[in-house]
């Protein structure tokens, strides 16, 4: 991985030079890039909107086009299909796609470095720790990863995971718990569902998977197609430089960054609640910051995640760690 990273950075440097030249003449054509978000735009994407608004992408010669997914799996599928240049998705999904189905995607950067996906219960619930879920119903959005999370957390808490009944509740995590049709949900995000529910007057509590035996996997990573990576490394590196500037701005001026997120988009497309996003960003920032640099990926994190996924039979064979991620951060 190390060598690749250096190479990428070098090439990235060249692109930057070219762009600088282009700016002088003022006539350089921007390179188009599509990025598919993991979900609808929210605080976690502020750095992208900041980078757009502040012209960082333009300075790098990139015309960034943001798209939203219909399915949670779209970012990986469409990045793999070459339909979008980049996709934002979840680390375990990348492992699963790569290991089970040979989907040709690789992660290029880690955005959120630890799980946001927690077990959420109502404030007044009698459940005090994951083992209390025995004999209860847990709703989840149909993603097998969540089953493994529950299994790990319940058994590490001393409970019997077989006694937990899991229900695929599709899109309806929030309403299923509020209407008390299930006792807990997993797959809900502490930076979205939890503050939104609070905003609507429902207090909740949550359990962090990392506290109950789950490795601290990267919640969000950026992926691209193997081929795209080979052919457009320079563009991607340029993208990353601009994104990093956006991130730094967001970290240092979070109020302003959020303001950009809100101002930048008309209400029509962004029915975001300000309080919620503010709270969300507070939760996110520590999870995005890395000593090694924004977006850097550690081989151990991938190792741990893959091992854990092997243990819980989410995957049947180990993917090669060299294929599955590259570091574009030095």
């Amino acid at each position: 991985g190390q060598g690749e990273t250096e190479e990428a950075t070098q090439q990235g440097g060249q692109v930057s030079d070219e762009t600088a030249e282009g700016e002088k003449t003022g006539e350089v054509e921007l390179v188009e890039m599509d990025i598919m978000l993991d979900w609808y735009p929210n605080a976690v994407h502020s750095y992208l909107y900041v980078a757009i608004e502040n012209g960082y992408f333009e300075e790098e010669g990139i015309d960034l086009n943001i798209q939203f997914p219909a399915n949670p799996t779209d970012p990986i599928n469409l990045a793999a299909a070459g339909r979008v240049t980049l996709g934002i998705t979840y680390q375990p999904d990348v492992v699963m796609a790569r290991a089970n189905q040979d989907v040709p995607v690789k992660s290029i950067a880690a955005i959120v470095r630890s799980p946001l996906n927690h077990i959420v219960i109502m404030e007044d619930s009698e459940i005090q720790s994951p083992k209390d879920l025995e004999g209860k119903q847990v709703g989840y959005p149909g993603i097998p990863l969540n089953e493994s999370l529950i299994k790990t957390m319940v058994s590490s808490d001393g409970g019997d995971p077989d006694k937990v009944s899991m229900i695929d509740v599709g899109f309806e995590l929030g309403s299923s718990i509020i209407s008390e049709r299930v006792d807990a949900v997993i797959g809900a995000y502490i930076n979205h569902e939890v503050p939104v529910l609070r905003h609507k007057g429902y207090e909740t509590r949550y359990f962090n998977p990392v506290d109950y035996g789950v490795p601290s996997f990267y919640e969000l990573v950026i992926v691209t197609n193997d081929n795209t990576w080979d052919e457009r490394q320079e563009d991607i590196a340029a993208f990353w430089r601009a994104a990093t500037r956006g991130y730094e701005f967001m970290r240092d001026n979070s109020e302003e960054a959020l303001a950009i997120l809100f101002d930048n988009q008309d209400q029509a497309n962004f029915p975001l609640i300000e309080d919620v996003e503010k709270e969300s960003l507070e939760i996110l920032l520590p999870k995005m910051e890395s000593e090694v640099g924004f977006g850097s990926q550690a081989r151990e994190s991938w190792r741990e995640t893959v091992d854990w996924m092997m243990e819980f039979e989410l995957i049947n064979e180990e993917p090669s760690l060299d294929d599955i991620f590259v570091n574009i951060v030095e």
Binding site: Y40, Q67, F68, P69, N71, L78, A81, V196, L272
Partner: protein, 250 residues
């Protein structure tokens, strides 16, 4: 008494539907799941600018394009199947299976082919609406009177004559039956299509509001969708009345 029945009573019934909705919603008291009609109306008013100027036109565009294609393709296929037993036997199974595939499974394929252009949404609308049109039209074409067909034949009518002068008028009532189902489905087709990736449209907006647990915001665009659906439906009813004038004198 009769006047009362035919104008007032339905009004009362529909009104009482809204009242019971209001009451049930107030009892449940979970506005993010089931908002009251008053909340929904207030929301429509709040958001009227973006709903009417941005999202409604975007969705209408999809609906109209999708329906137009659907009528052309559906009727075309029905006619082809009516003319050729082979076409019927070959297409019917494919046609039927096309309806049994959850669109969400096809979504990535549509996006792969059409990208995030309007065409992926139109494709969904098409897929949902053309089946009722095809089946009804086909059934209608089949049900024309054998006696009249024979009479036309003895007049030296060509296949074309029989088609236009006998089969088409016979199939019309069936076609309208199918079209009524189709225009209604077209609304939902467009909404689903918008989830495949859109930046505007009523369906998109509704789902977006769903992620914010804003019940009234979810239902406000849906109310508009319903209004579009009902208007299209009524348009078909009116068209039916005009073109099937002979029926009323029967």
């Amino acid at each position: 008494m009769k006047r009362w029945n035919s104008y007032f009573a339905p009004f009362i019934l529909i009104f009482s539907f809204f009242v019971s909705w209001q009451v049930v919603a107030m009892i449940i008291a979970m506005p993010f799941i089931l908002p009251t009609p008053l909340q929904v109306i207030a929301k429509v008013w709040d958001l009227k600018d973006i709903l009417f100027l941005v999202h409604l036109p975007a969705t209408l565009m999809i609906i109209v394009t999708g329906l137009a294609l659907s009528i052309i393709l559906g009727v075309g296929l029905a006619v082809w199947m009516n003319l050729s037993k082979t076409a019927e036997k070959a297409f019917y199974p494919i046609l039927v299976s096309s309806q049994t595939i959850p669109i969400i499974a096809l979504a990535p394929i549509f996006v792969l082919w059409f990208g995030y252009s309007i065409w992926s949404k139109v494709a969904v609308t098409l897929l949902i609406t053309f089946f009722p049109i095809t089946v009804s039209t086909f059934d209608g074409l089949r049900s024309s009177s054998k006696e009249l067909k024979e009479l036309l034949l003895t007049m030296g009518a060509s296949k074309r004559d029989i088609f236009f002068k006998l089969n088409v008028p016979t199939a019309l009532p069936y076609f309208y039956s199918g079209l009524k189902v189709a225009v209604t489905l077209s609304v939902i087709g467009a909404a689903i299509g918008e989830w495949l990736g859109a930046q505007s449209g009523l369906g998109y907006f509704s789902r977006r509001m769903m992620t914010q647990f804003d019940g009234a915001g979810v239902f406000a665009p849906i109310v508009l969708l319903s209004a579009v659906g009902i208007s299209l439906f009524l348009a078909v009813v009116v068209l039916e009345k005009i073109t099937l004038k002979w029926r009323k004198s029967e």
